[in-house]
């Protein structure tokens, strides 16, 4: 479990980081908290010759909240997301989801940027960002551009990010309504068997707007467009929530692993989604 040799860089600006990435193309990789990257390097599943540590770039850190808009620097750690009281007031679903990621040791180092840029369908934050309809800001040789989280993920480990681009920040509007992030896992430190995030805005029993996203139930995070369509404008009752759940499950496409076969995962997805819907409704 020793990685192959690499050169280590610690630039103090985005420009410098981008220029190193430009020089070495797909032989270069940025490292944030390292809690997804280092395990694959140690198993030599990936061969990285140039490793660029982003931790000295100040602009990549911090949580900015102004009015409804929230912007989070890519290098903000998961523990910072959990402990930031203002963020909790504006978007409590982030704390609820982050507390279900790994364990405190991982969360002390793991970053939001690394979590969403990684492209691993098992990561929780890509699903969370679908839920919040977040926008990712990327900086590369050709300048800065924005990509919607719901358009970022192409397949497992394939994203819209170009090889020379760095994720700078993530922004979204403070969600309104009830929320829930529900996850089933085998133990502390495990990725989801199935997880779902729900935001429900309810007015006199009628759903005025909604968002539903799934984690680790397909090779990308799943945003449940159809289910959201089913919900919006309807009076919420158990029956409707069951239909919505069913629609979400239909959109899922999990793979079998040690957590269990597909059939099991789809069933549990249904349970998890339904629980999230109910909790969000209660909180709305």
């Amino acid at each position: 479990m020793i990685p192959s040799a690499f050169k280590f860089y610690k630039p103090n600006s985005i420009e410098k980081a981008v220029s190193i990435m430009k020089d070495f193309g797909d032989e270069a990789r940025v490292i944030a908290g390292g809690h997804s990257l280092i395990p694959v390097m140690k198993q030599r599943l990936t061969d990285i010759k140039h490793l660029i540590d982003l931790s000295a770039i100040k602009e990549l850190k911090g949580i900015n909240i102004s009015g409804k808009s929230i912007s989070i620097g890519a290098m903000t750690t998961q523990v910072e997301l959990i402990t930031n009281e203002n963020l909790f007031k504006s978007a409590p679903v982030i704390r609820e989801a982050s507390l279900q990621i790994a364990d405190p040791q991982v969360r002390n180092l793991g970053t939001i940027g690394g979590n969403v840029a990684n492209g691993d369908p098992a990561n929780d934050m890509p699903g969370l960002m679908q839920l919040l309809d977040a926008t990712y800001k990327l900086s590369g040789t050709n300048g800065v551009r924005e990509v919607k989280a719901r358009e970022f993920y192409e397949a497992a480990y394939f994203t819209a990010r170009e090889d020379d681009e760095i994720l700078i920040s993530i922004s979204f509007d403070a969600p309104i309504g009830g929320y829930a992030y529900e996850k089933q896992k085998r133990k502390i430190g495990d990725y989801a068997t199935a997880a779902a995030g729900v935001i429900l805005n309810v007015d006199k029993g009628v759903c005025s707007s909604a968002s539903i996203a799934l984690t680790n139930l397909s090779d990308t995070p799943v945003y449940c467009y159809e289910a959201v369509g089913l919900l919006t404008g309807k009076k919420i009752d158990d029956n409707l929530l069951s239909q919505v759940t069913k629609s979400c499950v239909e959109q899922s496409d999990p793979v079998a692993d040690q957590r269990g076969p597909v059939e099991f995962k789809k069933y549990v997805a249904g349970v998890v989604i339904n629980k999230a819907l109910k909790r969000a409704f209660e909180r709305s």
Binding site: K187, I188, G189, V272
Partner: protein, 807 residues
């Protein structure tokens, strides 16, 4: 002196911190400060590092190994393959089970992760790069992972080296992939009873493959000193003396020129009993290069290749009268031993003490047959925190009892009670030939049922079932019962040996002039706290405070010969040796005291820490005084000094037992279970240190929880290990670990000098059945008879699904 009040016997006794005291662990000062000294902490001058090229496939011929590129890499010094070891006769090595095992792949590989080449270099980094550059061409062969397919007519032959051998180490072989058939008991008698029985329950019970997974993986540092010809090996050895003898036998280095040292060991659980290719390669590499070589596995190596546990398919039949009196037990086990039979069992027991499978019950007639087979899986078959195959046996009988109770429509607590061996039947000879030394099973069982309020538990369970049936809840409650009997403390030399070495153990004591002492033993602690507890045994025997006694183990140049620590043998065997050596010290001390007090030996009596003249309580000599006298007085007929050594050959095994109860709540939709209660009553005979016992029980229960609820070594059909990291191999953290309630009864072993039986492994043995039975019990109302472990979420979900509980 006269006006100073002599402390009372009680006061002096408590100052000793002897037997029965919850003395704090003396080891913890260094462990909790990160000051332990483990193998990987050892750094010698000029030391190189070695690591393996491992097979990525489970079964293949090796067409070619090209080491050129690796050898060309700066920092790489050597690459060993089987071809290099062959001239030394070390490309294969004997296993503990009478088989042989490839040290490095000799023409073929038989399991994923098998050692193919050993790369030696400056450090781990250079070696890892070197490993990646060794090119091996594999010609893949069909793979067998299912032990029942191994013996099919056209199954691929795994062990071509012995394909034609009709006779193995344990009798005839009927198929190239068959290792042995081992039988115990009365076959005809059992069949007859089963044929005529009023009730017979018939079930296949699988105890899946898992792994001890100690925190510290296996490793060693081998150092051949070419000047004096002495080989020193520091290693993670649970049996350092046996390793020395084996190393001498296979290397032809004279035994006095080999020194084996087990430094601090970070957990063993059976994983560190065997001899592994890494040890052999490190030794050879040190001989070849003339410098010390370190080899330390990483977690994936350890899980994939080093000593699995269990993997027994146990087909059972149990018969009874309609009233629930058990009349007979039959068991056929298919034992998946992997690619080489490297099980760590006493020589005469190829399936360990599996024939303890009559458990705690008075079963008149029984028969057991075990067939060992080869598959394309890693070798091992170690006793993971249990005496040899005892947890398999215990799980088997505790499942069979449950299955029988179902058949009889009887509460399984009552069925157990009806069939326990009675107190007055001890010593009890079981149908499969073991002589149980002592026990009071009814007392323990009744105490346990009362402690948990069993009747109330059943009522609560019934209420929850009603809620479930009426659609108000999706949760069920299961109550898991288990009464186990272990057989530990191997063992009597007459029937227990490993590679011909009798399984006695030893203790040597030296009392220093000022009245403190050092004791050395043939065992080696891996976290059990020997330095704490053995000093307590001795404190009570010789009247020197435990804190004045140093305890040393693990260096074969200084410690007396012993067979090491596993199978809960340290207390029953080395603990007995310690008491016996202490008694020799006391006997000599008595002579010295008699001389000093000018009385006859028989006029003295022992009082906690001194010899007192009978009827004259103010005339005495303390052990401290006697110790000094032994060094400075010329006593006629008595040698100077105060030392003793005892080699203890136990007359019998000990039979710890206990009653465990678990209450579990299960969500039928998600398969998630929540442990509501775990009650563990242990009877380990005399209790040396209640706090250490409690700690051992907590640890063992946590392993039992892991094993029953999720921990496994899983293979796919191509023989790929699916659980090679701690992401998929379940090791509970504090989060998953429930609260434990511990309790005890105390039935001393009649043949052990202090009556102690051993406890370290009991909770693993008893716990697995309790947890697994709870899962089964929850689904009992819906007709579940048997569902194999581990009971992870999806398998529990599958039970519910198959029972039609998912609408």
């Amino acid at each position: 002196m006269d006006d100073v009040k002599t402390p009372s016997s009680e006061e002096r006794k408590s100052a000793l911190s002897g037997l029965g005291t919850s003395r704090k662990r003396v080891e913890d000062a260094r462990f909790t400060q990160g000051k332990g000294n483990y193998v990987d902490d050892i750094k010698l001058k000029g030391m190189l590092f070695g690591d393996f090229v491992r097979s990525p496939v489970a079964h293949a011929k090796i067409k070619k190994i090209d080491t050129t590129a690796a050898l060309a890499l700066p920092g790489v010094h050597a690459v060993l393959t089987a071809a290099d070891l062959e001239p030394l006769g070390l490309h294969w090595m004997p296993t503990l089970a009478g088989d042989k095992q490839m040290v490095l792949a000799d023409g073929k590989v038989l399991f994923q992760g098998q050692e193919v080449a050993f790369v030696v270099g400056d450090d781990r980094y250079a070696v890892s790069d070197g490993v990646a550059l060794v090119e091996v061409e594999y010609d893949e062969l069909p793979v067998v992972t299912d032990p029942f397919k191994a013996e099919m007519e056209n199954a691929p032959v795994l062990r071509e080296d012995i394909a034609d051998q009709k006779e193995g180490a344990h009798g005839p072989r009927r198929h190239p992939n068959h290792i042995f058939t081992w039988e115990s008991g009365d076959k005809e008698g059992t069949n007859k009873v089963l044929d005529e029985a009023e009730v017979v329950a018939d079930e296949m019970v699988y105890y899946h493959r898992t792994h001890p997974c100690p925190l510290e993986t296996c490793g060693c540092v081998a150092s051949m000193d070419k000047v004096n010809g002495k080989l020193t090996v520091w290693g993670t050895f649970q049996a350092p003396h046996a390793v020395r003898t084996v190393a001498s036998l296979i290397s032809s280095i004279p035994e006095h020129n080999i020194r084996i040292i087990s430094p601090d060991i970070g957990g063993g659980f059976g994983n560190k009993v065997g001899v592994y290719p890494g040890y052999v390669c490190a030794i050879v590499a040190s001989i070849v290069t003339g410098v010390p070589i370190k080899w330390v596995e990483d977690r994936m190596d350890n899980l994939m290749a080093t000593a699995f546990a269990r993997d027994y398919w146990m087909h059972g039949k149990i018969s009874a009268t309609k009233e629930g009196k058990i009349t007979g037990l039959w068991c056929h086990t298919t034992a998946d031993h992997g690619a080489f039979d490297a099980c760590a069992d006493p020589t005469k027991f190829p399936a360990g003490f599996m024939n303890i499978c009559t458990g705690s019950y008075d079963i008149p007639v029984a028969y057991l047959a075990v067939d060992g087979v080869y598959t394309n899986k890693a070798p091992g078959g170690v006793a993971y925190r249990c005496s040899f195959r005892v947890t398999e046996a215990s799980y088997f009988i505790e499942r069979m009892i449950e299955v029988l109770a179902l058949k009889l429509g009887m509460d399984s607590a009552e069925l157990r009670s009806k069939n326990f061996i009675k107190k007055e039947q001890f010593p009890y000879t079981s149908a499969l030939g073991w002589e149980y030394d002592s026990g009071d099973y009814h007392k323990a069982w009744d105490k346990a049922l009362e402690a948990v309020n069993y009747k109330k538990l059943r009522e609560d369970q019934a209420k929850q079932l009603e809620l479930f049936k009426s659609g108000k809840s999706r949760k069920l409650i299961g109550i898991g019962l288990s009464h186990f009997t272990e057989i530990v403390g191997a063992g009597p030399v007459k029937n227990c040996d490993i590679l011909g070495l009798g399984m006695f153990d030893a203790c040597e004591i030296r009392i220093h002039p000022t009245g403190s002492a050092i004791a050395r033993l043939g065992t080696i602690s891996q976290g059990q706290g020997h330095a704490t507890t053995f000093a307590q045994i001795l404190a009570s025997e010789i009247g020197i405070p435990a804190s004045d006694i140093t305890l040393e183990e693990g260096d074969t140049d200084t410690a007396p010969y012993g067979l090491g620590t596993y199978g809960s043998r340290s207390t029953p065997v080395a603990g007995a040796a310690t008491a016996m050596a202490g008694r020799k010290i006391r006997a000599k001390a008595q002579m010295i005291a008699a001389y000093l007090l000018e009385v006859h030996d028989d006029d003295l009596e022992w009082d906690v820490d001194r010899f007192v003249v009978k009827g004259a309580p103010d005339k005495f000599k303390t052990m401290k005084e006697i110790a000094f006298a032994s060094y400075n007085q010329a006593i006629p007929g008595v040698e100077p000094g105060l030392e003793a050594v005892s080699y203890y050959d136990p007359p019998n095994m000990t039979y710890p037992n206990g009653a465990y109860i678990c209450v579990m709540e299960i969500d039928v939709d998600t398969g998630v279970s929540e442990i509501k209660k775990v009650y563990a009553l242990d009877d380990c005979g005399t209790r040396i240190n209640p706090m250490i016992i409690e700690g051992q029980v907590h640890g063992g229960l946590t392993e039992a929880l892991a094993i029953s609820m999720g921990q496994e070594i899983a293979y796919d059909e191509q023989g790929n290990v699916m659980t090679g990291t701690l992401m998929d191999f379940f090791v509970p953290t504090a989060w998953e670990t429930p609260n434990y309630e511990t309790d005890f009864t105390e039935t001393p072993s009649p043949h052990h000098p202090i009556g102690a039986k051993g406890v370290g492994e009991s909770p693993n043995v008893g716990g697995v059945s309790a947890f697994s039975n709870a899962v089964h019990d929850a689904f009992k109302p819906f007709g579940l008879t048997q569902a194999h472990m581990p009971h992870d979420h999806w398998r529990v979900w599958k039970i519910a699904k198959d029972l039609g509980l998912h609408n």
